[in-house]
Symmetry: C2
Subunit: 227 residues, 2 copies
DNA sequence: CGAGTTTTTGAAGGACATCAACGTCTGTGG
DNA sequence: CCACAGACGTTGATGTCCTTCAAAAACTCG
């Protein structure tokens, strides 16, 4: 089973990351307590429309969040890796679905710690705020990708993004399957596959481990391709 | 000059909207003071990379925020209408550009009221938080649109979204030009134009006012088309 | 080893982009 | 108020990137 090693806070700002890591033993960001929960590969963590009573932080494994259209078309917003917070929403109900990409352990925090916690624990509040702002940043980048980039550019962006999560890594380990990548990049699995082999032929990457690990052979050229 | 009438708070949650409206005279959401500023059509309000010392709330007119790729490709994230907050970011510098779509009046708040304001004025903090969460909601919806919808579905979604901002309206008044719509929907201006005339021919809409106002002749069918 | 799943590869088609020309609107100066 | 120039929008012809449909190869796990 492919799993990202738990790099805490690589996706969330330093403040919350450090704090989260420091309190990992009791699974607590600030003064608020959370409970540990595990999900198997493919399991649903919560789904669109469901009331949201808790929000989550990833301890290990990878989570995907996204939306489904009536006819089954799917768009994945983000993959969440260890340290990332997800499931925070403005309304009473979830507006998107969260599923386990592989075997996942998360900590669930009561939603009351959001409104209440912000009031009573301003430090906690600021951490959540910062976490949300960086989610928005990433959302904006992803909109550029979806709306304006070619398949090649999308894939280059994706691989570099994944690789950046491992300290100075020249490889991207992919816990998710091709369908997930396609639904993240707004492509079909066939195009994902073809684009990867095209990159292999161009000497940009090498596929190992049954296509689950991508070695970034020519990172400089990939960076140019990212657009 | 086309301008949206100032419907305050139609895009931001009730709490902040009401408060904003109540305090409109002194341009103040909570205890924090802001200063009024005006921008002409096409003027830049701030640009990507610039340090962000203030954030804004729209008083009148329409603002577009978005990103530019090196070769000029553009993706507009959102149009901001009266009542909307924009320019709030996690880092020291702006990660996107904001420009006036038409003649615009905004209120600028010092950025310190963000970090500091949250600590000292928890109500203000919660309002900002809620505003950010609804931005995220809309960002997620927009990703589905960009990644998974056809040109026709994109346009139907867009027109209904704009129309929804006027109370029980059967028309969408478009303060922005075709280029903006194209860059918002991830299309070219030609496809925007063709899709609109296709909708006219299908009896879905009618174009009036030199194409700046779209009458939603068959809203039910448009809603189905939204996907 | 073998059935089911996932990934890759191939051939053909379609939706949208690109290139190009024409029409329409806006605003300014006569 | 009209004329004209430039900007904006529409329409047409053609091209292309990505999808769709189809099948084979590779991998997973009992």
């Amino acid at each position: 089973m492919q799993t990202f090693s738990p790099i805490h806070g690589s996706r969330i700002p330093a403040a919350i990351a450090l704090r989260g890591a420091a309190n990992m033993a009791q699974h607590t960001p600030g003064t608020v307590n959370g409970t540990r929960r595990a999900f198997d590969r493919g399991e649903e963590i919560f789904s669109e429309g469901e009331p949201c009573s808790v929000f989550f932080k990833v301890v290990s494994g990878t989570v995907r969040t996204g939306k489904l259209l009536a006819d089954g078309r799917r768009q994945i917003d983000t993959f969440h890796f260890p340290g990332d917070v997800f499931g925070l929403e403005s309304g009473k109900n979830h507006r998107f679905t969260a599923e386990a990409v592989d075997n996942v352990v998360v900590v669930a925090y009561p939603r009351s710690s959001f409104g209440g916690g912000v009031r009573n624990d301003p430090v906690f509040g600021e951490q959540l705020m910062t976490s949300m702002l960086s989610s928005l940043d990433r959302a904006h980048d992803h909109m550029v990708l979806l709306g304006r980039k070619s398949a090649l550019e999308k894939m280059a962006t994706f691989l570099l993004e994944i690789a950046a999560r491992r300290a100075n890594a020249d490889r991207a380990e992919l816990p998710m399957q091709r369908t997930d990548i396609a639904d993240y990049l707004g492509l079909t699995i066939e195009t994902v596959s073809r684009t990867l082999t095209q990159m292999v032929r161009a000497g940009l990457i090498r596929l190992v481990d049954a296509g689950r690990t991508v070695i970034l052979a020519d990172k400089a050229r990939l960076q140019l391709l990212r657009a």
